[in-house]
Subunit: 335 residues, 2 copies
């Protein structure tokens, strides 16, 4: 791995100047600092963690980038995720900074440089979609990076933490199957998202295992907002669906109102299952049956995984098991 001396040699300047550049010292020109940082990134330099006392957090800093996701109120998906991460990190004497990435548009376009100049040993990324600028950078990053619900191929510095998609769909479909449902619709999340793709694969696999017919008219990609239900639920109903699996609780809440609007009842006419088990699920009418993602433990696991990557253990995937939470939005098929 590149050292400070390599950078100095490449630029033909003193090692002391390089370290000033890396440490944002004020007594060198911005131009030199820029040059040092660019070369550091180019050569793949990453700061070595000093062997410090366990309770000296000076060199033990990681950050969480969060995008397109609320995390400040308890009901938000990101809230427990970050709580869990923070807990595990502080138990191991690591400091965690939270960085809503929209406030860092410019830094996000230079991922490695941002981590380097801010002396972060690694990062946890939440809510980024595969097609944005990040995935390109993450596929090449030399900094330990954990992605929630995203998988980057081949880069041993990037690991994926999430919930086992196959088990999630297996729980949902099997629950409905045991209630006598045959025409099961699936309103998936955003297209072009890795987790949506994996859930589609899982849905098809489980339906086949149970010898249930998959109807193209009973499958759609949506988006993670209640509103998206109104574009697809009517079609599902018209095509005879007696149950709908939704890729998130928010979508499910939209599906419930859509079904009700059409003068049908949940669950008597249409059973509905959500995904996530956010706090509001229990207060919906009817209370929502859903596939629980253990967000607190996902956050804890994200740090465990990051800690592995920081210690050069090339983790590819770290998946937790989901749990079926049965409430009142599903029942035995009536007709």
């Amino acid at each position: 791995m590149a050292t400070i001396k390599d950078i100095a040699d490449r630029l033909g300047i003193a090692v002391s100047t390089v370290s000033k550049g890396l440490n944002n010292a004020s007594d060198i020109s911005d131009e030199t600092r820029q040059m040092v940082l660019d070369t550091a990134i180019e050569l793949g330099y990453t700061p070595k963690r000093k062997k410090t006392l366990i309770n000296n957090t000076a060199e033990r800093k990681v950050c969480v980038f969060i995008e397109n996701m609320d995390y400040e109120n308890r009901d938000a998906f990101g809230y427990d995720l970050i709580q869990g991460f923070r807990q595990s990190a502080s138990m191991r004497n690591w400091q965690t900074d939270i960085i809503p990435s929209n406030l860092n548009a410019q830094s996000t376009s230079q991922y490695d440089k941002f981590l380097l100049t801010n002396r972060y040993c690694g990062a946890f990324l939440i809510g980024f979609s595969m097609h944005n600028d990040y995935s390109v950078q993450i596929s090449k990053t030399r900094f330990p990076t954990v992605l929630f619900d995203n998988h980057i191929q081949s880069n041993p510095k990037a690991g994926y933490v999430g919930t086992d998609c196959y088990e999630g769909l297996k729980l949902a479909v099997t629950h409905l199957f045991e209630l006598g449902h045959q025409k099961i619709a699936f309103l998936n999340g955003a297209k072009n998202s890795m987790v949506s793709y994996e859930r589609t694969q899982a849905f098809e696999a489980v339906m086949k295992e149970l010898n249930l017919k998959i109807y193209p008219a009973l499958f759609e990609y949506g988006y993670y907002v209640p509103d998206c239900a109104k574009y697809h639920v009517p079609k599902f109903i018209d095509n005879g669906a007696t149950a709908i699996i939704c890729a998130s609780d928010l979508i499910a809440s939209g599906a419930i109102s859509e079904v009700t609007k059409r003068g049908l009842r949940v669950p008597e006419d249409i059973s509905i299952i959500g995904f996530d088990d956010l706090p509001f699920c229990a207060n919906l009418t009817p209370p929502l049956t859903t596939i629980r993602q253990d967000r607190q433990n996902l956050g804890r696991s994200a740090f465990t995984l990051l800690d592995c990557l920081i210690n050069h253990i090339p983790v590819s995937k770290f998946l937790l098991r989901p749990k079926l939470i049965i409430r009142e939005s599903t029942c035995r098929r009536q007709n």
Copy 2:
């Protein structure tokens, strides 16, 4: 979760007698002890770990069951696996006992009872095939259990640690593809093994991604010994294979001798890739190109995963990235 009192109530005996039964006290009858243990298992009782000083290992005991696999010499696959597990465990002040399961045939038929009576908080299982008695028990166990290269559905107490099969086959096939090979044979491991199944899926997926034709005559299941090569390699050669991927280094070593026996050269006539990167690979003639499984880190990760399960984090899968080690058994296609 069931308590000692539940067991006492169910049997209508004193709590003190139950705890004598669970602790192998000598002043109760074998019959009573048996009864206590059977009821403990039936009710799903698991001993609670006392909150003890971090360096008090009295209640911090786990075990490694190993079957069909050598682990005593440095060249063996199990050796580093167990070293890594032991290291991580002792760093966290856990004691590890190694249990070659053939010496415990009777205990293996009563998995939970064995762990309970020996006061183990959990176990790491290496080398067990899915179709043997174990998988039935593991699917129901209430004890934290980590399986190497095996996945049990739905039981939140059983986690799977291994190497990402898709990435392994992707590295192997892509390497051969870039060397101009088109007719690539795959000599897989034992049929009915989960990892063999996943590798088959991965092989087919990657071949498709690279628009390479899959020839039924160039795919076979074998077994993890050099000898199995002689049953399949001749057929691969007769059907025009210019490269062979083997599911283990041992199989690959057998493939090399088979090719040589037929008067052909490795790699000029046939390129060969192994799997695992065991120490002997570098000393083969020619030195073997292989897909490295990081056994030490797999062992460490196995303990990390077991620690998660012990702390009620329901990990389903924990996969590490493999690495392509290029030596001299592969080269550009000659004809």
